[in-house]
Amino acid sequence: MIAATGIDLRLGAVDVLAGAQLCTRPGQVVGLIGPNGSGKSSLLRCLYGMLRPNRGAVLIGGEAIESLSQRSIARAVAVVAQDTSADGIGITVGEFVLLGRHIHRGDHQGFTDHDRRVALDALALVDLSGFAERSLHELSGGERQRVMIARCIAQQSPVMLLDEPTNHLDVRYQHETLMLVRSLEIDSIVVLHDLNLAGRYCDHLALLDRGTVVHQGPPENVLRSDVLEPVYGIEVRRLADGQHTYLAFGPPSL
């Protein structure tokens, strides 16, 4: 369980977060939504120690993040970040997923057969059995994102944070990726831009505006025109087809 309360973050001369709060929910997918520049990724990065807030508390399993080593933080939290550095180095899918086991071994220790088994199981879970020898840069965007999630599964941390995992994916892969996240039933926080995807795959939403979480709750309570219009500055309409509710967006209200 991760809980962040009263987070203030200043980067350079910019106040990025102002009293933001967010926490995981047992077995649920929490969606973190908000306009560009509202501080979504920054808040997420505070949760795994990449950014240190100027004020406020991040608690991991009830302990202050400052009191934990980076290794202890990683034992509690796995992250699908927006890093793309791995793509160009020629690493194989198997090697990449196996690196998720780092926190379970000392720096000098090699990976064991158990680690290899866990990595292969993680690949099987994301439906990529047989991909271990493939180069990461050969994969499609959707396959690549599933590999990123497989590495987190292999890490076996009880919480998963995902920073815009559907970026650059076509609509089919966007749905597949989020269906996969949901099927894992791990406490997760997902930063998302697409409000319809957020509504469909998240159990709980937190709406961030200028560094502050302005609304939290079940999707039907947050994805309302009276909540979204002042934050995004556009017209929002809800459409229903009997099974699902969709949001349609009008031009910016100038």
Partner: protein, 362 residues
């Protein structure tokens, strides 16, 4: 056959195939180590006086494990092998290995395939220190090894400045390291040029130039243990943190989320590799290309995982430098070429060939 059984069979096949791949890389590493050892023995025998490999081995055996002296080798052969060529090749092996390992480490730390041992500005510090010693006798109270000692002090000074600059605004990031290293490098290269200008000595300028381009000619038994200890410890420390390098190469956030603090790891490894470079440059001058070419060739042979990449790059660095030294001392006999000229001439086409084979999206 049930679906579960099929999946288990596929997994076992995959495990076996992974193990096979791992074994092939291990075999490659063993092969590289063997080629390096054979190269050393052949290289020791090569020179104006040719000594056969069996004789080389007997002479080394005679001095180390008491193999009895036999009449088949002359006293001069013994002196050439034991006093001149063996220390020279041993220095080439440790300096080449260290440059290879430092190159691999820095390429992971700054996530830039063009990173090489001299980007930290440490070699420019060493050069300025050596130039001050050669041209103005600075540090002459340090004794016979005043040039090496001053070079090492210069390297330490440069490292201190780079770290102070790179850390002045918080965590050490790849770009801060590159910019700080570049700034210090320019400043200290200018200092070396000024020293040469003010010394107004053609002979001194030639000596500094030869030193700047690197040479193994100053190898002797008195300085080898220091070099082996300094660079050996550095390489062991880098290998100890091999998986941290794998994770750093994946990006800051991924490393952090995998339990590796990029700032702290980078700081410690930069100090370790900078000291390695300090030892290497102080003993053999500024030998270029080895630290850039060896990691690239190694990566093509054993892949990007540092467990294999570090030893492969060390072996290739040693191989390149030992053979470059053979070329340097034999190409224009009796004159000796600076080794940096040889590594430059040989290294450039190798790198061009490697660049042409890089995947389009890397």
């Amino acid at each position: 056959m049930s679906a579960q059984h099929e999946a288990a069979t596929a997994d076992r096949a995959q495990s076996a195939s992974s193990a096979g791949w791992d074994w092939s890389r291990r075999s490659t590493l063993i092969g590289l180590a063997l080629v390096s050892v054979v190269s050393m023995i052949v290289a020791i025998g090569l020179g104006p006086v040719w000594v056969t490999p069996p004789t080389v081995l007997r002479i080394i055996g005679h001095h180390t494990i008491g193999v009895p002296e036999i009449a088949s080798w002359a006293r001069t052969d013994d002196a050439i092998i034991w006093e001149v060529r063996l220390p020279r090749v041993l220095l080439g092996v440790i300096v080449g290995s260290a440059l290879g390992v430092v190159g691999v480490t820095l390429q992971a730390l700054v996530r830039n395939p063009l990173a090489e041992p001299y980007i930290l500005g440490v070699s420019s510090g060493a050069s300025a220190g050596a130039a001050a010693a050669i041209l103005f006798g600075v540090g002459s109270e340090l004794g016979a090894e005043s040039v090496s000692s001053m070079a090492f002090l210069g390297a330490l000074g440069a490292l201190a400045i780079v770290l102070a600059l790179a850390r002045s605004t918080g965590r050490i990031t790849p770009s801060r390291m590159l910019v700080a290293g570049g700034a210090v490098s320019y400043l200290l290269s200018a200092t070396t040029s000024l020293l040469i200008l003010f010394a107004d000595s053609t002979e001194g300028a030639r000596a500094v130039m030869f030193w700047l381009l690197g040479s193994l000619a100053n190898a002797d038994w008195s300085t080898l243990p220091i070099g082996y200890f300094g660079m050996g410890v550095g390489m062991v420390l880098v290998f100890w943190w091999r998986r941290r390098l794998d994770l750093l190469a994946l990006g800051e956030d991924t490393a952090m989320a995998s339990g590796v603090d990029p700032g702290r790891t980078r700081l410690i490894l930069v100090v370790v590799v900078a000291l390695c470079v300090g030892f290497a440059v102080s003993l053999s001058g500024g030998i270029g290309f080895v630290g850039l070419a060896a990691p690239h060739i190694a990566r093509r042979i054993v892949g990007p995982i540092h467990r294999h990449l570090i030893p492969a790059s060390a072996a290739l660095g040693a191989l390149i430098l030992v053979w470059a030294d053979v070329a340097a001392r034999m190409a224009l006999q009796p004159r000796e070429l600076p080794i940096g000229v040889v590594t430059g001439v040989l290294g450039a086409p190798v790198l061009v060939a490697l660049v042409r084979k890089l995947p389009h999206n890397s």
